[in-house]
């Protein structure tokens, strides 16, 4: 640095000091700008008094006071800032370009309205929302919402239309299959299709979300974080929506009107579709504003699930009870593996890969190993019976999902154990999880596309 000219070196030091201050929650960018102006004046004064650039910088920073003390003082005056407030855009938080932020809000709300309207469009072609067309809406549910989400990210990431070709092709193919497959209205394969199609298409959202960086591990990890936060936001919005529905029904009932039709045919379906886009926009907007919730919930529930699994295994061994072979058991264990995988995924997503192994990591491994053991016991019990009953679509889908999850968790356990014994980096686990993402989509796509013809659309 001494070879640089003093002005450049000074600028570099000021830049580093600025970025250091910016990390303080109590200091907004405008405050940092104000302090920087002060620092520059102070340095200029000191240099006029004969100090070198470097000396002047050191004295100037010293006079401003320690960063900790400074941010404490700012926090005392602006205590509200510690409760991060929702600013509608990152740009707004940075004190910068606000038009883009307003545009984004307008685009998001417009697309949310679009999704809400899309739900009602089939009704104008004689496919009224209701029990008689339930199968149609179940098959197409994802197609009402996800295109708008893809468009939103396409706009936000300023993607070239060419980048959205694959999501568009996938969506078009899905729309064709959904409406050309001769499903039976109450068949198993229809339910499987409706359940698996959104999961397969979610990959398309991921591609749009990543904005051309889908091949990179950290972009995929961001998408995992986004998905978790979106889920939490959606649940919260749904809770609020429930209150809204209750109020609507109650107030109209008070004047002798039944709002049931409006609620059932407009408020709920349009709201549920639009809320996905709104929730996505909020997740993006508050990214830097609010603590991510998924990792917090992970911290709370990982020890609890580990305890439950351990006590289950101990009880199983101690009592020698056999696992019930009912169909629900398989679904139950699939759900358990999904939960464990979710806990693992969101613990991984929030962990500093550089940090050394800690107690929580051991707990995580115990959780995964416990889940694997419990699932192994259940699978063994079910496999014995499945030969007697033969393969139904649901049973095969459940078994396949179990396999997909088992492979992921099994290898995760190996990688985690290696990491705990200091034989491998934590990043290997991260890479494994991000590389595995397409597998879920491929499996879900397989179930949606191949199962119906395979089982004769029953």
């Amino acid at each position: 640095m001494s070879t640089l000219d003093p002005e450049a070196a000074l600028e570099e030091q000021i830049a580093r000091w600025r970025s250091y201050l910016r990390r303080r929650q109590a200091l907004l960018p405008v405050d940092v700008a104000e302090l920087e102006d002060h620092l520059r004046e102070s340095i200029a004064g000191l240099r006029a008094g004969g100090l070198s650039a470097e000396e002047a910088f050191l004295v100037g920073v010293r006079r401003l006071g320690g960063v900790d003390a400074l941010s404490r003082e700012f926090a005392r005056e602006h205590s509200d800032r510690l409760w991060k407030q929702l600013l509608l855009t990152d740009a707004e938080a940075a004190g910068g370009d606000q038009t883009r932020g307003r545009q984004e809000a307008a685009v998001a709300l417009g697309l949310a309205v679009g999704a809400g309207v899309a739900v009602k469009v089939p009704a104008f072609f004689g496919l009224a929302l209701g029990d008689e067309n339930a199968a149609f809406y179940a098959r197409n549910a994802a197609l009402f919402v996800l295109p708008f989400l893809v468009l939103f990210f396409g706009w936000k990431r300023r993607l070239a239309p060419a980048a959205l070709v694959w999501p568009a092709v996938a969506g078009g193919a899905a729309a064709l299959l959904a409406n050309l497959y001769p499903f039976r209205t109450t068949g198993d394969t229809l339910g499987l299709f409706a359940l698996h199609l959104p999961i397969a298409l979610w990959l398309g959202v991921g591609v749009a979300y990543a904005g051309g960086r889908w091949a990179q591990g950290n972009a995929r990890m961001d998408f995992i974080r986004f998905s978790g936060e979106l889920f939490i936001y959606y649940v919260l919005i749904a809770l609020g929506g429930g209150v809204l529905i209750g109020s609507t029904a109650m107030t109209f009932k008070a004047i002798g009107l039944d709002a049931g039709h409006f609620i059932g045919y407009w408020l709920v379906p349009c709201g549920a579709a639009g809320a996905v886009v709104v929730a996505s926009w909020l997740v993006e907007a508050k990214q830097s504003v609010v603590e991510n919730m998924a990792p917090v919930l992970t911290r709370v529930f990982t020890p609890l699930f580990a305890c439950v699994l351990l006590s289950f295994l101990v009880t199983l061994v101690a009592t020698g009870r056999g696992v019930d072979q009912a169909r629900e058991v398989l679904i139950g264990f699939d759900a358990l593996l999904i939960i464990v995988l979710g806990l693992l995924l969101y613990a991984v997503s929030a962990r500093d890969p550089q940090a050394p192994p800690g107690t929580f990591d051991v707990l995580q491994l115990v959780l995964v190993a416990g889940a694997l053991l419990a699932d192994g016991v259940a699978l063994w019990a079910i496999a014995v019976r499945i030969q007697e009953f033969g393969f139904t679509p649901n049973r095969l889908a459940g078994l396949g999902l179990n396999g997909v999850l088992l492979v992921n968790l099994g290898w995760s356990a190996v990688l985690y154990a290696r990491f705990l014994r200091g034989r491998g980096p934590f990043a290997a686990l991260e890479r494994w999880q991000t590389a595995y993402l397409p597998v879920y989509a491929v499996w879900a796509g397989l179930v949606a596309v191949v199962f119906p013809p395979l089982f004769g659309f029953r």
Partner: protein
Amino acid sequence: MDLGKDLIAASSTPIVLALLAEGDSYGYAILLRVRESSGGRMEWTDGMLYPVLHRLERLGHIEARWETAATGRRRKYYRITAQGRQQLEEERRQWQAVDATLRSLWRAVAAPAPFPKTTPPQEAGA
């Protein structure tokens, strides 16, 4: 000399308001004026001035605006409001009351050793 923390905090409001009553100013210039007019007796940590300014702004005693200097740097200027002037008057009355009380007490104590540095310059001979 080191003034107590509480005393600095309590006196910062009238000092800043009085300086801004002279004319609009910005952080660094305010600080220089404080140093100058106190003859170096009051040492503020530079950064602590800003939370004070922001508090006065929030209370409506002063208002801020950003201006771009000839050098292209943006600078935040502060201006005292009508309400701020009232507050300054009020502060002045309060501080004069404290000052008057202390003065009569200093005489009563009649300390044998004078404290040249603790008394303001205009009454150094009292």
